[in-house]
C-alpha cells in the first residue's frame, strides 16, 4: 500500500489503433488489469486495431516479423529482417507467440473481451474506421458495446483520476 497521499486511479480509457498481437494484447491486459483492480475501463478500437474485435479477423492477428528490431529467435539469436519476409515465417512466429501466451493463461482475444466485460469494462469500435474498412456492427464480436465517434468516446472519458492511454 502506498504511503503517499496520491488519490487512486479511477478510470482508464484505452485506445488501440494497431492490429498486431503485441498491441492488441497490451490493450487487453491493461483493460482487464484495470477492472480486476476495481478501476473502470473503456476501450476504443480504431484503424487496424479493429481486427481485434472483428469476428473474421480476431483469431488471425499476427506479430510483425519485418521491421521489428526487437524480434529475436529463441535463445536470443539474431533474427535478420530478411528471414521475416519468407512466406510462412510470420505465421510461424505468431503461432509461437500465442502458444507462449496461452501457457501464461492469456486467453484468446474473444475470451479476453468477455473477461473484460464480465468485470464491467466496455468495448467500443471507431465509427470512422468502420466506415473506412466497410464494416458493420454485425461484423464485430458480441462484446462490443457500440460504434462511436471519437467525440462520443471522449464523452465517456470524463471524471477525476481518469487517464487516456494510446497503445
Amino acid at each position: 500500500m502506498s504511503t503517499t497521499n496520491e488519490s487512486p486511479l479511477k478510470k482508464v480509457c484505452i485506445i488501440c489503433a494497431k492490429g498486431t498481437i503485441e498491441d492488441v494484447y497490451a490493450t487487453l491486459v491493461m483493460a482487464n488489469g484495470a477492472v480486476m483492480e476495481g478501476i473502470e475501463a473503456k476501450v476504443f478500437f480504431t484503424f487496424f486495431g479493429l481486427d481485434a474485435i472483428t469476428k473474421k479477423q480476431m483469431k488471425r492477428i499476427k506479430t510483425a516479423t519485418v521491421g521489428n528490431p526487437a524480434m529475436r529467435a529463441p535463445g536470443g539469436l539474431p533474427f535478420p529482417t530478411i528471414l521475416g519476409m519468407i512466406p510462412g515465417v510470420e505465421a510461424g512466429v505468431s503461432a509461437m507467440m500465442k502458444s507462449q501466451m496461452y501457457k501464461l493463461d492469456m486467453p484468446p482475444v474473444g475470451e479476453f473481451l468477455e473477461m473484460i466485460t464480465a468485470g464491467g469494462g466496455e468495448i467500443y469500435a471507431c465509427k470512422l474506421a468502420m466506415d473506412m474498412f466497410k464494416l458493420e456492427k454485425e461484423d464485430l464480436h458480441e462484446e462490443v458495446k457500440g460504434v462511436l465517434t471519437i467525440g462520443d468516446f471522449y464523452g465517456k472519458c470524463g471524471g477525476d483520476n481518469t487517464q487516456i492511454i494510446f497503445t
Binding site: M36, E37, D105, M115
Partner: protein
Amino acid sequence: MAQKTYAGQAVEVNDEGYMVDPSKWTKEIATELAKEEGIDLTDKHFEVLEFLRAANEKGETLTIRRVGKSGIVDIKGLYQLFPGGPLKFSSKFAGIPKPASCI
C-alpha cells in the same frame, strides 16, 4: 508487517493486509477480513476461497481465468462475489499471498 486481531486470534499480516501464514487461516478470520472490505461471505464465497487455498498449496499460478474455469463460478459471478477485486480480495480472504498475476 503487522499483527492484527481477527476472531480473537492474533494474526500476522503484511503491509497490504494479507496473511503471512496461510496455515493459521480459519473461516472466522476470513469472515472478519471480508467485513473490512464490506463483503459478507456466503457458502459460495467459501467455495472460491477453498479452491484458491488448494491451488496455492499446489503452487499454481492464480488468475481469474483459472477460477472462472474451476466450475464453482464464472468470471462474471466472481466479480459479483468480490466487487472491485475478484482476485485481490478473494486471495486476501483466503489467507494466501496476493497473486502476482495480471490476468
